[in-house]
Chain length 344, copies 2
């Protein structure tokens, strides 16, 4: 069946390498296709607006662990992750379709819980679940959502629009979802060793919530519109800040200088990071799943955002030849490496 | 994690039962949503047109067996199955997004083969692959495609539009894909017993092709338009003719009378059915995966289609109280039972 052309392991390319490699073989045939593979969502001509399309697959044992992920939360988070992709284009998600593959370990009641979460997220974000597919799975649960939305043509924000000198801004705070994951993993290990043990999640509510029940920052794109700010580029923080900065840099052909002391880290994230032996800066840079928005703005928009609590300016764009750097608290310059998810 | 509300096994509901059950919990929030769960595609307002959305998940070991399914063909078929859903709304597919989960058993070269098939189908149907997601899988290959298309508002064909007296028409011929599957399964069994054995697929090309490389009948909706025929309802034959007839009946609140001697069965399908001990009528009724179009038309359109080679009138709609029946070649009346896929 396989032609004799050698064998290259998936791990040699990694997720982003694989996508880049395969994307090269893909041609488009429709004039309506404005942007295909390579941004948070695809962009298609549609009269005064652009249509936005994106999709996301979640695999049990890879993206989630049902030992500590209630199915309600999983359903909610799966929808949020997709809405976040549309939000990252400065757009509005309106509809989703959802596929699931289920092993017979799941009961109807369990799937009702999953749907409870999906329906709750749809109600929260005014998004309609309009179709899907369900099938059996030889192992575990696989969820796929595809999301449909729109954006006004003059509002769209690609990854590729950064100009040298632009300010790099992030919403909310970072690293919390990663600390939440670590706390849940720790409790699972303890539980497996001592099943009588009561989980000790007290005082960690914020971090657990960041991991299990994130929100898409639709409030941020509304705020940007209210402030009269058009981001020059935008991406959501799903894989990790460093990885997202690399995407912006690559697609905009710029470099970035980022300041460690500017990274927005919640005090609880910071403290639990220290407690667990996780450098809070590393959590913020590489943790992922915070679903905050990372965007760039022209320096002329600085006055409009400087007093906004939800925004933190963490750096600025430089010439691509200058590369990507983190200026540490000790004022040393480090190469900023991307550690996006490499799951293979 | 699971609340104490008992446990109902998935198998108790089956696929369609599960979808119906879960769909009841789903509410829509957007006025633009014209039709949600329950047809071949979702229907969304979009100016002069409707937007159509659908999605389909294929799981290794459930929907395909890589022992005899070349990845090129799998990619092609996955795209075709999605386009067929848009075609069944009398619409045109223009864009897809694709997710895949892969175990490390797959090489880059294998995934290139998969993409070769996907790209070939996209070129064939003038559809653009504009985004996706790739991830690792603990077991096997899972593919999900979501498809985006459109249809003029006055051309849309739902499952729910059948009127009593309408003629029931199917394109092409039926049962071939099922016979092809049986031939491939037989060769696999022989191969597993005697690895030196050369597969004997000669003379079965048509059936193998029906299984491995089906086409979406976009030519049929063009032909209907050219003939000036607006189908009152339409569905594609993916699960099996009997199952699709049940969908039309349920959603249109009608019954159907179908004539066994009218079922379009290719002579090769018929002969190999006899050879393999498979009743050709059962293959045609329950085989599935033919991706033909099943539709109803007003009797006043009879003159327009009666000489069309691609169409076969197989029955007509009756009052719902009369139920669904097959009139056998021996002129006996049998209840027409649906045997759609129940994979759990």
């Amino acid at each position: 069946m396989f032609e004799n052309k050698g064998r290259t392991e998936l791990g040699e390319l990694g997720e982003f390498g694989l996508i880049d490699h395969l994307a090269k073989s893909v041609k488009t045939h429709n004039q309506s296709t404005v942007k295909g593979i390579g941004d948070d969502a695809a962009v298609i001509e549609n009269g005064d607006n652009y249509t936005l399309l994106s999709t996301d697959m979640l695999v049990e044992g890879v993206h989630f662990d049902l030992a500590y992920t209630p199915l309600k939360h999983l359903g909610y988070k799966a929808v949020v992750a997709n809405i976040s992709d549309i939000t990252a284009m400065n757009g509005t998600a309106t509809h989703i379709v959802m596929s699931m593959a289920l092993s017979n370990r799941f009961s109807i009641e369990a799937i009702e819980d999953l749907y409870f979460g999906i329906n709750a997220a749809c109600a929260q974000y005014n998004v309609d679940l309009v179709g899907g597919d369900s099938t059996s799975s030889p192992k575990g649960l696989i969820l796929n959502i595809a999301v449909y939305g729109h954006v006004a043509k003059d509002k769209i924000a690609y990854r590729s629009g950064v100009n040298e000198g632009d300010l790099l801004v992030v919403s909310g705070d970072l690293g919390g979802a990663f600390l939440g994951l670590n706390i849940l993993e720790r409790e699972k290990r303890i539980f497996l060793e001592k099943p009588d043990f009561q989980p000790d999640l007290e005082g960690n509510d914020y971090l657990i919530q960041r991991q299990l029940r994130p929100e898409a920052r639709v409030d941020i794109i509304k705020l940007l519109a209210d402030l009269g700010i058009q981001p020059t580029a935008m991406i959501d923080v799903s894989d990790g800040l460093a990885s997202e900065i690399h995407h912006l840099a690559k697609q905009s052909d710029v470099g970035f200088t980022v300041y460690e002391d500017k990274l927005p880290i919640d005090p609880l994230t910071y403290q639990r990071g220290i407690d667990l032996g996780i450098d809070p800066t590393v959590a913020a840079l590489n943790g992922g799943e915070d679903y905050e928005l990372l965007f760039t703005i022209a320096t002329s928009d600085f006055e409009k955002i400087k007093n906004q609590m939800d925004f933190t300016i963490i750096g600025h764009a430089v010439k691509s030849t200058e590369g990507l750097h983190l200026i540490s608290k000790g004022n040393n310059q480090h190469k900023l490496t991307a550690q996006g998810w490499k799951g293979f």
